[in-house]
């Protein structure tokens, strides 16, 4: 594998055990809770796939992106539904979009976020295909002329209307474990349960690897993904990309869609030089636990718990001009844009290079 950008797929062999940052020990606690695999989990696995040699790392890993492999070998990527899409209160089959609207309501946000997003409905949840998310980013999915769309039109996958029939791409599987003594009886107090995640058939975690031009390493599996030594197969995949950005940003209005959990310096707020935050739809904070078993002191000495803006969150920004918006989002002649890259942290920050805060840009009105 040479330098450039490559997509890798991590396909769990059976189940995953990915936990949040709370401490859990068999015999002391009775249960733990699973979380979606975070960028650091996937980044660590990819690092191992490339040999796990310190100093020989990809420049950046961007992901994870949930995807499903089809029988013909092609992939469909899935992204969390944007937080400003809601299902109508009266008819859950209809999807609407919250709109930034002037209001006399007073909030404790001060002038940081001028307009509330207004509309009635329940959070959509579920996952959009990459193609559908592209239409959303271009402003073609829910428009002022067509304010309601049906769930069928949107090809929304894994919506949890009924957990029995559509429990999501990573289904929770409760497992009970016990410890036995040498005389084959259960050790007292050593009964525990853990919730594993079982991917639906064909579901994998994808990530884009930005590799140095001199890169010669191949990604080799299997690698441990998450806890309990659960293994995932590794493969390079073609035909996968981030949804394409719009061709222009009328009025300097830029929508930022958070594709992977983001840990911004400003907490829940995104700060963009030259732009004003107009409105935001941000999901509940997501605990992100990181640790480095290879560093001095191991996991216990290096683990940290942070709170991230969840994937699917949406920010509406206002630039001074369409050109300024365009330059920031997709770049200009002298500089690369932010679309499809991790944002908000220094270039060599480990949280950035592991894939936290990948954003996609779109338009809003």
């Amino acid at each position: 594998m040479t330098g450039g950008r490559r997509w890798l797929a991590l396909t769990p062999r059976d189940t995953l055990l990915v936990r949040d940052g709370r401490q859990f020990d068999a015999g002391e606690d009775a249960a733990n809770q699973p979380v979606q695999p975070s960028p650091s989990t996937v980044g660590g696995a990819i690092f191992s796939a490339f040999g796990g040699v310190k100093g020989a790392e990809p420049d950046e890993i961007r992901g994870p992106v949930l995807a499903r492999r089809h029988r013909g070998g092609w992939w469909t990527s899935y992204f969390p539904a944007p937080a400003d899409l809601v299902r109508s209160d009266n008819d859950h089959s209809r999807v609407m979009r919250l709109r930034p609207t002037g209001s006399s309501a007073v909030t404790d946000l001060g002038g940081e976020c001028a307009l509330p997003l207004v509309g009635e409905g329940d959070p959509l949840g579920g996952w959009l295909t990459g193609d559908t998310l592209g239409a959303y980013l271009r402003g073609e999915l829910v428009t002022p002329e067509q304010p309601h769309r049906s769930m069928t039109d949107l090809e929304i996958a894994f919506v949890r209307d009924d957990p029995d029939t559509d429990p999501g791409p990573l289904v929770q599987e409760l497992r009970v474990g016990l410890s036995r003594t040498p005389t084959r009886v259960v050790q007292e107090g050593m009964l525990y349960q853990a919730t594993y995640l079982r991917p639906v058939e064909g579901v994998a975690l994808l990530a884009e690897c930005v590799l140095p031009t001199t890169w010669q390493r191949e990604a080799v599996g299997p690698v441990a993904l998450g806890g309990r030594g659960r293994l995932a197969d590794v493969a390079e995949v073609d035909g996968v990309s981030w949804p394409h950005p719009p061709t222009d940003y009328p009025g300097g209005r830029v929508l930022v869609y958070v594709a992977t959990p983001a840990i911004w310096p400003g907490g829940w707020q995104i700060r963009v030089p030259g732009a004003r935050l107009v409105a935001a739809a941000v999901g509940p904070p997501e605990p992100i636990a990181t640790a480095s078993p290879r560093s001095k002191g191991g996991v216990r000495a290096t683990r940290a718990l942070r709170w991230a803006v969840p994937a699917g969150s949406v920010y509406l920004l206002q630039f001074d001009s369409a050109d300024a918006a365009m330059a920031w989002a997709v770049g200009d002649s002298g500089r690369l844009g932010v679309h499809g890259t991790a944002y908000g942290r220094p270039a060599d920050d480990r949280l950035r290079t592991a894939g936290f805060g990948v954003i996609l840009t779109g338009v809003w009105s």
């Binding site: 929770q172 409760l174 050790q187 079982r198 058939e201 197969d233």
Partner: protein, 322 residues
């Protein structure tokens, strides 16, 4: 990394117990959350394999391969070099109105098996047969062609059409499984399960995605049990346990990380130890050990032990086309 394929063939009903009760079923078996296919969790299987090594007195092998345990309070906790995947269902016996029973498998189960073989580096295996959700296919003439254009068979609670001719891909899979699970190839004639090879070659059926979940739900064994007082009256119960039936076939991927170069135990030595422990050996997995449950014949295959069974060998063995 060294990849190994472990087949398990149930000699007695297997109860790898799940986390919760299910309706009137107090003690269900472990099942996958997505497909509801029965499974033996990797953690359960690894514990059973560890017990086999301990029972064999291979203490030097236990900690480096299976990991250090805190149960004796002396051994330092450490990760073992062996990763044990879930034992996934390959085929399960279902009652029929002729030939006593047949093994039911599915496109999904065989696709998973293809991937396990691919990890070993084995190629040239047939694609699993593609079936309509309500349809079925048979590996041999025994289930086909009684003079009627199509023929339906009673499989457990289902009536399934098996087509008008044996499925050639399934026939190859039957031969592959007979060779690898039962060891009935010429050089493996002494394998304990080899006499069953002829039946597996003939009586492997594949069913569609609507039929398989029903068979896997309805064709496991349900046993009511009670606990008696000294006076032979019931103290507790009845309670109901579920078992994977005898003759079920499961497969798991085992992955062995290289042993440390500085250690006395070499990777090749560990593989030989594992083969001694697990190849053509009867081991015990799951619960109810003391009432004879959970006995399974294990076969541990390395890449060099496996080859795709050629179609002509499959045909010769079943007599098809002769």
């Amino acid at each position: 990394m060294t990849e190994l394929l472990l087949y398990l063939y149930a000699e007695s009903p297997v109860h790898a117990g799940a986390a919760d009760s299910l309706g009137v079923l107090d003690l269900p078996v472990q099942r996958e959350a997505t497909t509801r296919y029965p499974v033996i969790w990797g953690q359960s299987l690894k514990g059973a394999l560890r017990q086999v090594a301990q029972d064999a007195g291979l203490e030097d092998l236990v900690v480096p391969v299976f990991g250090g345990s805190s149960e004796d309070g002396e051994t330092e906790l450490s990760a073992g070099r062996l990763t044990v995947g879930d034992a996934q269902l390959v085929a399960m016996p279902v009652p029929t109105l002729q030939r006593t029973f047949a093994w039911a498998t599915s496109e999904l189960a065989l696709f998973r098996l293809v991937r396990k073989y691919a990890r070993l580096g084995v190629t040239g295996l047939p694609q699993p047969p593609r079936l309509a959700p309500e349809a079925g296919a048979a590996a041999s003439e025994a289930w086909i062609g009684s003079g009627r254009a199509t023929r339906s068979e009673v499989l457990g609670p289902c009536l399934v059409e098996l087509g008008i001719a044996p499925d050639p891909q399934l026939r190859r899979w039957a031969a592959q499984l007979a060779t690898d699970v039962l060891g009935d190839a010429g050089s493996q004639a002494s394998a304990p399960l080899a006499p069953l090879g002829g039946k597996l070659r003939d009586d492997l059926l594949a069913v569609g995605s609507d039929v398989m979940p029903m068979l896997l739900a309805e064709c496991t064994e349900f046993v009511a049990r009670v606990q008696l007082k000294e006076g032979k009256t019931v103290e507790h119960g009845p309670f109901h346990s579920e078992y994977l039936p005898t003759e079920s076939i499961l497969a798991a991927s085992l992955t062995l990380r290289p042993m440390p170069a500085e250690g006395s135990l070499k990777t090749e030595d560990v593989i030989e130890f594992l083969l001694d422990l697990l190849h053509n050996k009867l081991i015990q997995v799951g619960g109810d050990e003391t009432i004879g449950k959970g006995l399974v014949w294990a076969r541990l295959l390395r890449a060099d032990d496996v080859r795709a069974v050629a179609p002509e060998i499959a045909d010769e063995s079943t007599g098809v086309g002769q």
